[in-house]
């Protein structure tokens, strides 16, 4: 292992990591919005809504992300109508194609997380909210969503990490993300092991940071499950304590 080469490559790799983070960040925001709509459609009773949502989720979760990226980047150019359309200036850019594929992919996984979290809110609470006369929207806003967020957060944290790792596929459509930079430099200096190891370390640092951030976030939104700090003693957190004890 040539440590010098590894250290020299850090600035370039960090530049690539910037693109990785931009892709992941944008895909997460857009994917979250799409996922919310898909999850609502999935939970709807009308087959006209849930059947397409089910198909969407099944397709994007059941096929490799690489195929999805290639379908958007190479596939769409097969149609003269697409190349003639006003969207072509977007669809010919690898950045936008990768972003579209990542967004659709993460939204399928996120929709399932949201659906599970919304369905996991105890039925009795919704009935109680209805009984006091809350409207559908108020019920969603005050009762369902705050609890669904708590329930879904750990799974969503996993999805964010999976997307960071999956974003390395951007390098297959010529983008210079973290993996792309590592592969490009190593094709010049013939030191793939050094470059890829360094890239792997940066990925590890990113996933580690995100894991930590989600731990903090989970702690912040689970006030109802924490034990109150005991006066004079150390405040131990307990995960299995039933809610209500904190009051």
């Amino acid at each position: 292992m040539n440590i010098g080469v590894m250290i020299e490559s850090i600035p370039a790799l960090l530049g690539g990591a910037g693109l990785t983070l931009r892709l992941v960040g944008l895909a997460l925001v857009a994917g979250f919005a799409v996922a919310f709509l898909v999850a609502l459609a999935r939970l709807s009773r009308s087959p006209l809504l849930w059947a397409p949502a089910y198909g969407f989720v099944f397709f994007f979760r059941g096929t490799p992300l690489l195929v999805q990226i290639f379908l958007v980047y190479y596939g769409l150019s097969q149609f003269p109508a697409v190349r003639a359309s006003s969207l072509w200036f977007i669809l010919r850019e690898p950045f936008w194609c990768a972003l579209i594929a990542f967004t659709l992919n993460t939204s399928a996984y996120t929709a399932e997380i949201m659906r599970g979290a919304i369905q996991a809110v105890p039925r009795g609470q919704i009935e109680a909210a209805m009984a006091i006369g809350m409207s559908r929207l108020t019920r969603m806003r005050r009762i369902v969503l705050p609890q669904a967020i708590r329930i879904g957060l750990p799974a969503y944290g996993n999805e964010v990490i999976l997307l960071i790792k999956a974003s390395s596929l951007a390098s297959t459509v010529t983008l210079l993300d973290l993996t792309g930079v590592a592969r490009t430099i190593s094709s010049v200096n013939y030191m793939p092991v050094e470059l890829l190891s360094m890239a792997a370390l940066i990925y590890l640092a990113m996933t580690f940071t995100v894991t930590r951030a989600f731990k903090l976030l989970e702690h912040a939104v689970s006030a109802d499950r924490r034990q109150p700090p005991i006066a004079g003693g150390s405040s131990q957190k307990s995960l299995s304590v039933a809610s209500g004890q904190a009051k």
Binding site: F58, T63, A166, S168, P192, A200, F208
Partner: protein, 232 residues
Amino acid sequence: MPDLQGFGYMLAEGTLITLQVALLSTVFGVAIGIAVAMMKLSSSRFARLAGDVYTTLVRGVPALVFILLIYFGGVRLVNEIGHAFGHDQHIDINAFVAGVFALSLAFGAYATEVFRGAFQSLPRGQIEAARALGMGRWLTFRRVSLPQVWRIALPGLGNIFLVILKETALVSVIGLEELMRKTEYAVGFTRQPFTFFLCAAFIYLGLTIISMLALQMMERRAARGFTPVEAA
């Protein structure tokens, strides 16, 4: 059915390679998973640490980077050994072997956590009872622990299999002629990327559906005698 212009056979060949990579990686991955889970549950601090390092590293790095690293690392290692023995030509390593190796390690890292949870969920009393009956460690493992661990771990292993099945597509990057690579050839000849990549997508989707059905059957079989039979 779209017109595949005679490339159907090629895609079928690729699908076969994809399945071979996925299934072989599963067999090795399960073995690695059980072994590392035992390490993580052992009383040796070194074994626990080694297990933790392995799972953290492999699970924190993108599969694509990992596959490339194994491939190029393997090439370098083989060549350095070759040079040490006076062989002066470049030696290439087989993409199939590198792919199976990388995906087995990836499967193993995920399976470790599944097996660890499964082993921990076994009632201690059963192991103690088996030992009291005079069964050795190995016999206890084989007759008491393993059949139950298998039942508990199967759903988790199934999920990993579905992930690995899709990740086999990444092995095309190091030149293995599996489904994705064959599809790229077809695209190169026909200039119909959408048709062929969509076709590949549906083949993966089909493999996923078949795997899910097979896993359901396996889960039912592994749980026989455990869940009450549903009334006919």
